[in-house]
């Protein structure tokens, strides 16, 4: 259980985040959704420990981790640009953490991750030879080898296209389920947030606009911001897709993901 209480953060006197209160259950996928500049990345950095909070508490399994240094919190992150090391090949990137902590994952666990993320055939490639989706999977594998207590993902899908996006979404869900791993995802895309996560945290102007299950957000939007900016966007998308798939224009294949 991750609890955040009265979190506040400001830079140079400008308040970025304030009055953040929420709880995340173990194994849940939570998306932090909001327009750019709303403070969602700052929140991610606070949880990770990359930035210091001004006020408040972050409790993990009942313990305040706010004063625990980043590397000792045991959380881990995949950055938006993946931050893969170009001087090392795929396999060495994945097993990078083992050089410092050989016992953190067994050989079998690493092999399982490689297979789960479909990286077996790419192990000897250089980073620059990979596509965006492959890079994302390598970065995921590299982080998972570290067995994080919480997995943080910064815009994991924004640089990916259509089908790849869906397959990565499936992988993230699978990992969270298989490993019973609390996963926090930052995204600006409502569709992503609402289809990927158990709960969605909508942030606007540095504070929580609504926090709830996707269904609740769709059914019971708590304010105009959620209605106009989040739901309206989805509605337009829905209509567009309905127009495409109108009567007599059914595709001849069944949807496949994976």
């Amino acid at each position: 259980m991750l609890e955040i209480k009265n979190l506040k953060k400001s830079y140079d006197g400008v308040t970025i985040l304030h009055d953040i209160n929420l709880a995340i259950d173990d194994g849940e996928i939570v998306s932090i959704l909001g327009p750019s500049g709303c403070g969602k990345t700052t929140l991610l950095n606070l949880v990770l420990g990359l930035a210091d909070a001004d006020e408040g508490e972050i409790l993990f399994q009942g313990e305040n981790v706010l004063n625990v240094p980043m590397e000792q919190r045991g959380f881990n992150i995949v950055f938006q640009d993946y931050a893969l090391f170009p001087n090392l090949n795929v396999y060495k990137n994945i097993t990078y953490g083992l050089r410092n902590n050989p016992s953190i994952s067994t050989r079998q666990e690493v092999e399982d991750l490689i297979d789960l993320l479909g990286l077996r055939e790419h192990l000897d490639k250089k980073i620059e030879q990979l596509s965006g989706g492959q890079k994302q999977r390598v970065a995921l594998a590299r982080t998972m080898v570290m067995k994080p207590k919480i997995l943080l993902l910064d815009e994991p899908l924004s640089a990916l296209d259509g089908v790849i996006k869906e397959s990565i979404k499936a992988k993230i869900k699978q990992i969270a389920r298989d490993y019973h791993l609390t996963t926090i995802i930052v995204t600006h895309d409502p569709e992503e947030a609402l289809t990927l996560s158990d709960k969605v945290l909508i942030i606007q102007n540095g504070t929580i606009s609504q926090y709830g299950k996707p269904d609740d957000i769709i059914q019971k939007p708590e304010n105009d911001f959620v209605k106009e900016f989040i739901l309206n966007q989805l509605l337009i998308k829905k209509n567009n897709i309905f127009t495409l798939f109108r009567q007599g224009n059914e595709p001849k294949i069944a949807a496949q993901v994976g």
Partner: protein, 557 residues
């Protein structure tokens, strides 16, 4: 505090600053104290004398003028060369030639530039004889401009070419599609992103010209510059360090202005997250224009040095033009040559090693740490100061401070002097390369259990190896060719090849001067190709290993 303490980087910063404190600021302070010292204690009398001296202000103005003009011309020429390499569809071999030829002048001691100009464009010069008439009067503004441009072209080219390789070329395409005129595209997507580097190039070139003494001594003519005034005061027929120090102080004024200017320009430096490798647009006219312009520029530069390959193998240029190896033999039969060569190689090699470490450490603190901006500014200012101090001033300051210490007359002091004297350009190269690397590496690696130092060794350094080797090579080459400061701090047992050249110049044995210059050129070429080999060998090994590794992963332990 959860944030990393960055103690390692603070340590590195402390070390770098300490080195510069001991070997730059204290010697300079010691010298500048002299400028205020009179018979009756502290006073400003020397300044009054210097300022009212005949022609001082004129010389100062001349220096500002010629250095600015040279810096602009050099930067424009270097821009054309770098543009031809990075933005034109020219054959790979030709691009390779431009890359090498543009930095060629750096491989020769500047002491030879003046002779080379006189022996090329003078009344009896090689080029004058080829054309049958003297192309232009080489004494004064023209000669200085030519000399300075050749002298500074390599540095400018290195800086511009380095940054251009990081500018995202996709933006040019975007701009054209958005309907910008070619000119607007050029300004918006080539010039603007380069503005910071163009300014840096201008500044580097300006100070190289402003502080150089060798070229005006040869071809300055009646166009007096401030470096000559400095020389006359410091080492003229009546040497006066106090007045010399005044002149050196005045020469610092432009650097103060520059520090402010660069601070202002800082915001124009653009960081690209991703460099797209894209096809360069077709443009036959553009390619032809830049191809030909580059050829012309390089032809002019290299033709000046052609004479160096002719004179030493001729009996007595230009009177007895008959092939002979007499001068070569005479140089190589000198017993002391082995010692000076050995000293030169050791000094150059260790300068390169220590210099690479120092610049790397300094660049890490400014490019990859979260130290406050003011702290980083300290390193930036140090870098600028090293650039604005004439070598002669460093040499004399070192004599004043380190005489009588165990450092006197050691190779160590020569090495440190070189590291500090040439700090600026390699630091800029290193910083620009480190800045462009993914900013999340350290955090990511730390989350995987790395200490900061481990990340630097395992991730940052391997990825910076190309630039590190470039910096290594830059330091090596410059340590081989430098003379202005070394001449004062080299002892009888620590003489290097360039001080030997200076001796021969003093004896008016110019043939031998050229022979030794060629020797230095040969060493530098050999060294450069060695470094190049190491750099490329490394890539090949990587590819080979990739191909060889079995698909099934090995055990993890």
């Amino acid at each position: 505090m959860n944030r990393r303490k960055e103690n390692e980087i603070k340590g590195i910063f402390g070390l770098v600053v300490l080195v510069f404190l001991i070997f730059l600021l204290i010697p300079l302070a010691r010298l500048f104290l002299k400028s205020f010292m009179g018979d009756t204690g502290l006073m400003l009398g020397h300044y009054a004398e210097v300022l009212t001296g005949r022609g001082f202000l004129e010389a100062f103005g001349n220096s500002l003028l010629i250095s600015s003009v040279s810096a602009v011309v050099t930067t424009v020429l270097a821009f054309i060369l770098a543009y031809a390499v990075h933005y034109c569809n020219l054959p790979g071999g030709y691009k390779g030639f431009i890359n090498r030829a543009a930095v060629a002048p750096m491989l020769l001691p500047t002491i030879t530039y003046g002779f080379a100009i006189i022996y090329s464009f003078g009344k009896q010069g090689l080029i004058t004889q080829l054309f049958g008439t003297q192309l232009f009067d080489i004494y004064g503004f023209n000669g200085l401009l030519l000399g300075y441009v050749i002298y500074t072209l390599p540095v400018s080219f290195l800086l511009l070419s380095n940054t251009m390789s990081y500018v995202d070329k996709k933006f040019s395409i975007v701009s054209r599609i958005m309907g910008d005129s070619p000119f607007a595209t050029f300004v918006g997507t080539v010039l603007r992103p380069l503005l910071g580097t163009l300014a840096a190039s201008f500044v580097q070139c300006f100070f190289l010209c402003f502080t150089d003494y060798g070229i005006p001594a040869s071809v300055g003519g009646e166009f007096e510059v401030v470096a000559t005034v400095l020389y006359n005061e410091m080492l003229g027929s009546v040497p006066n360090f106090s007045r010399g120090a005044c002149v050196a102080m005045m020469m610092l004024i432009p650097s103060v202005v520059t520090i402010a200017l660069l601070h202002y320009l800082e915001k124009y430096n653009i960081r690209y997250n991703k460099i797209s490798q894209i096809e360069i647009r077709k443009g036959a006219v553009r390619d032809a224009v830049f191809g030909v312009l580059s050829a012309l520029i390089l032809l002019c530069v290299l033709s000046v040095f052609a004479v160096i390959f002719v004179v030493p193998f001729v009996d007595e240029w230009p009177y007895r033009i008959r092939f002979t190896l007499e001068h070569v033999i005479s140089v190589f039969s000198d017993n002391s040559l082995i010692t000076v060569c050995r000293n030169s190689l050791i000094a150059a090699f260790l300068t390169a090693a220590v210099g690479s470490l120092t610049t790397y450490g300094a660049a890490l603190t400014t490019a990859r740490s979260h130290l406050p901006g003011k702290v980083k500014q300290v390193i930036e200012n140090i870098s600028l100061i090293t650039n604005t101090i004439p070598g002669m001033v460093i040499g004399i300051a070192y004599m004043l401070v380190f005489s009588g210490t165990p450092l006197q007359n050691t190779l160590f002091i020569i090495i440190i002097c070189n590291v500090i004297h040439y700090f600026s350009t390699p630091y800029l190269m290193m910083k620009s390369s480190l800045t462009k690397m993914n900013a999340s590496w350290e955090t990511t690696a730390m989350l995987m259990g790395d200490t900061w130092l481990k990340t630097i060794v395992r991730v940052v350094t391997p990825n910076a190896m190309g630039t590190i080797l470039e910096v290594f090579s830059y330091y090596f080459v410059n340590a081989m060719v430098t003379v202005s400061a070394v001449i004062f701090i080299a002892g009888a047992r620590t003489m290097v090849i360039t001080t030997k050249i200076k001796e021969l110049q003093y004896y008016t044995k110019f043939n031998e001067v050229f022979v030794l210059s060629l020797l230095i050129l040969a060493v530098n070429l050999a060294a450069k190709s060695l470094f190049h080999y190491i750099a490329t060998d490394r890539q090949k090994v990587k590819v080979k290993k990739t191909a060889r590794r079995p698909v099934v992963s090995k055990s993890i332990s």
